[in-house]
């Protein structure tokens, strides 16, 4: 017999209001203990979409996930960037602790092809994380991406404009990020199986200490250049 629980337990696109979070601790550590404590999986969810509403590069969205990407790039799967908004700068990514040989850049001639590439990368099973900067998205496309992420067990980080906050989304995790003088301000808008307590300030020194840890574990002999 298949119980209802069994049927729905494997689905990341179902948000169960009062979930006991059986998968707690299964997530990808974000590198910020305060944030992990609030996320139902104890980190970024695997096989699901994560929407980051920041409003463009330089506003902390990418900085928030770099420690997790550094960790994932040490595995055997790709960390894919689909149609990034600007040219990636290798020293920046390497300095954040990423293994560049696992980084995959996918350029797309237009939004339609970008969406196609996002779905392919998520579904392939060959990527641990897929980063996308789609513009406006229909619910239908988002759902496709969510299913692809489940199928390929990839975390799809979607950087979306702040206005997307009012649109419905199948992503089990959505947050807003902003740079504040003290560090990153994170507000969890939606998190499957958890309730947001209000904005969280992750301070900048912490960010760099996480990076230092990542670097120390990876390349002890290498220090940042003077």
């Amino acid at each position: 017999m298949t119980s209802l629980d069994q049927l729905i337990s494997g689905r990341a696109d179902l948000w169960r209001g009062r979930s006991p979070s059986p998968s707690a601790g299964d997530g990808i550590p974000s590198g910020f203990a305060d944030l992990d404590a609030l996320l139902s999986d104890g980190g970024w969810p695997r096989g699901a979409l994560v929407e980051i509403l920041a409003g463009g590069p330089g506003r902390g969205g990418l900085e928030l996930i770099l420690p997790a990407l550094a960790r994932l790039s040490r595995g055997s799967r790709w960390v894919a960037l689909v149609a990034p908004p600007l040219d990636p700068y290798a020293p920046g990514w390497a300095g954040a602790g990423l293994d560049l040989s696992r980084l995959l850049l996918i350029h797309a001639p237009d939004g339609r092809e970008g969406l196609w590439a996002l779905e392919q990368a998520l579904r392939s099973g060959a990527c641990s994380a897929v980063l996308g900067w789609p513009g406006r998205m229909e619910m239908r496309s988002l759902r496709r991406l969510q299913l692809a992420a489940e199928a390929g067990q990839a975390t799809g980080f979607l950087f979306r404009p702040e206005v997307a906050q009012v649109e419905p989304s199948p992503a089990p995790l959505r947050l807003r990020v902003a740079v504040r003088p003290g560090g990153l301000e994170v507000r969890i808008l939606k998190c499957r199986g958890a309730w947001s307590p209000g904005p969280l300030l992750l301070d900048s020194p912490k960010v760099s200490s996480v990076l230092r840890q990542a670097l120390a574990g990876v390349a002890p002999a290498q220090a940042a250049r003077p």
Binding site: P88, Y89, S101
Partner: protein, 478 residues
């Protein structure tokens, strides 16, 4: 020895019709003596009553929209040669015969665990290429050929079985010279069994020693060496499209046939294709050319077809296509690449290669990249997009800086002595001085800072240490 004869009764028609699925009546005509006569009608034409031997005029009266094509023996030969190269996937001994092939089959029979599965695989393979075939497996090449042409029996396990089946074959189906057939008919013989029972000495006097030798070979009583087909070093397949194809996606029907043909050629050579060069011929030159480049040599057809499908979706045809040509100049030996890992620590299941292949086929290789550090302090030269999966530069060049760099630095306004971008910029860090490149003439002397705009965007900016000490925006943080 066991021989598989492959007879292609419709070859003259199929070389024209296999490129597109068509429902319009079509026939190949041959000029012999009088006017053109129908050699082979396609099924829609046959449904309208066209028969082989009919005059072209009579055929046109039956089907108004009938398309008549003159037989092209040169193309038939080329098609057979391509088929022979394809058939090498089954055996290394392939011989060309009129309108067919002869395959030495002993090894394949072991591989396919019996004749039925083997014949099934050959038939299915030929079907994929667009050919109908009559097959016969027999212990002698001549026996296999004659029975395949006659469509009389498929599997003869041994010489005894062959002789028994031949005995029942009407003499007129044996494919004898007309005068021999006439003479035997006047002797009252109808079945091949009667011929086999005649004393050879008498036959030799009447029809010559060659005829008796042929009979001995047919029955396996004399050796019958066959010239072995030498496959070409490169693959070149051509496919005529009977009706002009307008949509790139519709080309897949014919292109698939060429890929299947190529696949047999490659498997026979234990090689893989790395670069597939496609030429789509239009009514007027120039043709459309494109290259399907693969990351690792492939010999199996399906993954190639899948990539081709993606690629064709991206192609815009300037004009309808009349012919498809596929060339693979340098097949890569597969054995030599075994063990040579393309990707460091790549996925064992190959899913990472498959993803790259799909992306490259649809978006183009230049859009699927990796990122590498370069041993240079100048930001413009410290980062490069490279083929994905390459090893990073050796230790010592681990850098720092923002994840995003502008293609070229943008000058920043200066207001009240401070750099300005939508508001005054707040400098968050001490400067990092970069002075480098004096040796190659592109020298730089800059102080880099992390700066923040009033809206909270973190930027990477620098001030020139020379000239006008101008401020520039060079990068954006995450």
């Amino acid at each position: 020895m066991r021989w598989l004869a492959v007879h292609l009764p419709c070859l003259p028609l199929e070389i024209f019709s296999r490129g597109v699925a068509t429902g319009t009546p079509l026939a190949v005509v041959e000029r012999s003596g009088g006017g053109p006569r129908i050699l082979l009608p396609n099924p829609p034409a046959a449904d309208l009553g066209l028969r082989p031997g009919m005059s072209a005029g009579a055929a046109r009266a039956l089907a108004a929209d009938l398309r008549l094509i003159e037989r092209d023996p040169v193309r038939e030969e080329a098609a057979l040669a391509a088929l022979a190269a394809w058939a090498e996937r089954f055996t290394s001994q392939v011989s060309l015969v009129p309108r067919g092939l002869l395959l030495e089959a002993a090894g394949s029979l072991r591989l396919f665990q019996g004749p039925r599965l083997f014949l099934g695989a050959v038939r299915e393979g030929l079907g994929g290429l667009g050919y109908q075939a009559r097959l016969c497996l027999a212990p002698t090449p001549e026996g296999a050929l004659r029975l395949a042409r006659a469509g009389w029996g498929e599997i003869m396990e041994d010489l005894h079985a062959l002789r028994q089946v031949l005995a029942e074959l009407p003499l007129q189906s044996l494919g004898l010279e007309p005068e021999v057939l006439g003479a035997l008919g006047r002797m009252g013989l109808e079945l091949t069994g009667g011929l086999l029972g005649l004393p050879r000495a008498g036959l030799a006097r009447r029809f010559g020693a060659d005829f008796v030798l042929w009979l001995d070979r047919l029955l396996g009583e004399a050796p019958d060496p066959r010239p072995i087909f030498e496959p070409p070093a490169r693959y070149r397949g051509r496919l005529e499209l009977l009706s002009e194809v307008h949509a790139a996606q519709a080309l897949l029907f014919g292109a698939r046939r060429l890929v299947l043909e190529l696949s047999g050629f490659l498997i026979g050579r234990q090689a893989g294709a790395l670069r597939l060069d496609w030429t789509l011929v239009h009514a007027a030159p120039p043709p459309t050319r494109f290259r399907l480049g693969l990351l690792e040599p492939l010999s199996e057809a399906e993954p190639i077809i899948e990539l081709l499908r993606e690629r064709l979706e991206r192609i815009e045809l300037p004009a309808p296509v009349r012919e498809i040509i596929l060339t693979v100049d340098c097949p890569e030996p597969l054995a030599s690449r075994n063990g040579e890992l393309f990707l460091r620590a790549g996925r064992r299941d190959g899913s990472d290669i498959r993803l790259l292949e799909r992306l490259r086929a649809r978006l183009g290789p230049e859009r699927v990249r990796g990122l590498s550090l370069m041993a240079d302090h100048r930001p413009e030269r410290a980062s490069r997009q490279t083929p994905p999966g390459e090893e990073a530069e050796p230790a010592g060049v681990l850098g720092s800086g923002p994840p995003w760099l502008l293609a070229r630095p943008e000058p920043l306004e200066l207001r009240q002595g401070r750099p300005w971008r939508g508001g005054p910029l707040v400098l968050e860090t001490d400067c990092r001085r970069i002075e480098s490149g004096w040796w190659d003439g592109v020298d730089q002397a800059r102080d880099y800072y992390v700066a923040r705009t009033p809206e909270g965007v973190r930027l990477w900016i620098f001030r020139e240490l020379r000239g006008q000490h101008q401020w520039f925006l060079h990068g954006v943080f995450g």
